[in-house]
Subunit: 351 residues, 2 copies
Amino acid sequence: MSVTIRDIARICGVGVSTVSRAVNGHTDINKETRERILEAVKRYNYVPNNSARNLKKLDTRTIALLIKGIENPFFARMLKTFEEETKNNGYSLVVQHVDEFTDEADVAEKLVQERRLNGLIFLGGCTSHVQNKLDHIEVPFVISTIGIANPEEAKRYAQVSVDDIREGKRAVDYLIDNGHGRIAILAASSLDDSVGKLRLLGYGRALKEHGIPIIPELIVSAALPENPYSYENGYKTARKLLNSGETFTAVFALSDTMAVGAAKAFLEAGKRIPEDISLIGFDGQEITRYYNPVITTLEQPTQEIARATISMLMEMILSPEQEKKQIVFEGRILEGGSVRKLEYPEKRSDG
Amino acid sequence: MSVTIRDIARICGVGVSTVSRAVNGHTDINKETRERILEAVKRYNYVPNNSARNLKKLDTRTIALLIKGIENPFFARMLKTFEEETKNNGYSLVVQHVDEFTDEADVAEKLVQERRLNGLIFLGGCTSHVQNKLDHIEVPFVISTIGIANPEEAKRYAQVSVDDIREGKRAVDYLIDNGHGRIAILAASSLDDSVGKLRLLGYGRALKEHGIPIIPELIVSAALPENPYSYENGYKTARKLLNSGETFTAVFALSDTMAVGAAKAFLEAGKRIPEDISLIGFDGQEITRYYNPVITTLEQPTQEIARATISMLMEMILSPEQEKKQIVFEGRILEGGSVRKLEYPEKRSDG
DNA sequence: TTGTACGCGTTATCAC
DNA sequence: GTGATAACGCGTACAA
């Protein structure tokens, strides 16, 4: 087996508590013994067993980040900020990936028990059927980037995100402001009860507000049940739209990856972007700026969201009894070259 | 604090060992008591503390996957396969992200101690300066997708990857076969001692074999020290190439993300792909198939690599003393629309 | 300043 | 089939 604290104690001719003190940087220890011990630690390559530590310590100063779908570059990009901000606050971060078919609330509960966590962050996931289980979690947690569809429910959780309804509306408003009236949406599956549903609601509101009738054929649900926000799904859903024969001048894709997939479908069909079809994505992912043409997108302030998530969690750890807050950030349109300005006779906007 | 095994024992009026047996599915226990206990477990929401478990158990049947740079979609895509294959072998997988500035060998050592791991997989990272520390690791480990530049070194580690020299050569051979002679390469930094160096070596070999002189100006090192394989770096490195004024008809980018970045630079400069500049990437990432134009790339068999990595590790866990193996997979050209066939007078190939 | 001894929650080894 | 009890490796109160 590997070297333990007792081995080091024996080697140095001291007690285990002295080794513990040296390793943990306590001040109540002779400088020379400390150095002698640390030398042996290095020499014999002693690493404290964290399981034993966690078993003993009450405050681990550790928080966990649960990511549902790390393969989503949107989350991957935030990871760095989470790591930095956690460190800045003097905490350790455990990053835990949760696969598609696993319940993140279960994972969270286990992790809390196992690691004596001080707090938790959920990134992705947290659909409504998971939310019931969230009440079992005994430590503060923040739901990041996820909008909760039911407003009553939403108040019960600490959250940092954009308002997906408002931002969905903002994206569609932008298309309308550019003269578009027949706007299709590449939506998630009809079962989706998370951000997809909210952004679709925003789509509906934008049309309604401008007195544009909603055409059911222009609301195209995900062709694939799994991975709704993938390139492939964007492609297939766009093909469904093309095949429907419905006419439209602009398309709102629920994510940038879907937008890229859709772009391929349109280009393959001989359509030009934006001359024949205007396209707007959602998220503000890097790929939109490198695509040809550059895809206009609704950018989420990911860095601000990540930072606010950590500081909210830290606050909750300090005073756990206070009311749950919801922080809502604003998105903004990142203009690319994928939206054309239409000049309708009945609606000539300036600029 | 949370409910422990003793609480459940008290509640059920049994001993702790009986609870342990029930929870761990042992057979030497009365069916009725088992059910009674499991009911209480569910009812009182008991989750065994994993730290205590790991402290006690000898064989955890757990392996860890250390990913350096999870933000790389190339790795993210393999994650699922790793998770599935591990489960198929009856093991648990701990996925651990290692940030850019952290030494993965240190993380590995800690993790082994903490979790009593049976084995380890390194995905990404493992540059030569890390390799010295690898010898401290007491459990079997496999280095996945990383080529080691020094052949002497390479024999010392269990590895699964493509031969980056050969595949780099294959990519450039493909360009040469298509009539290209002035081929630029968007390389990593000159300090790179990993796959970037190997692929560059392959570039050199391909040119040499075809009697094409190497033009130093066409070997462009990464413009950014950090994140060599990013979109941004591809873009900036391509701009450096354009600004050099050197003439070339084709470009080999060391990764698909770099290729996408480069494509933007070329298109912005008014060049057409592939009419003015042919472009080939490396990895076979999904985005190449959705880009406009579809980017020709050298595909790595990621799924096979992931599967082979797990089965190699399982073998090593069963018989740790055997010699380290190296499994080398072949890549293949995934033809897109980014490479033009040149018809040179002195070299007319068929088809 | 240092060492002894206890307990963290669990599993495994015994007796019964 | 079941229940005490001894580890597992560590941190820490308390005694020295």
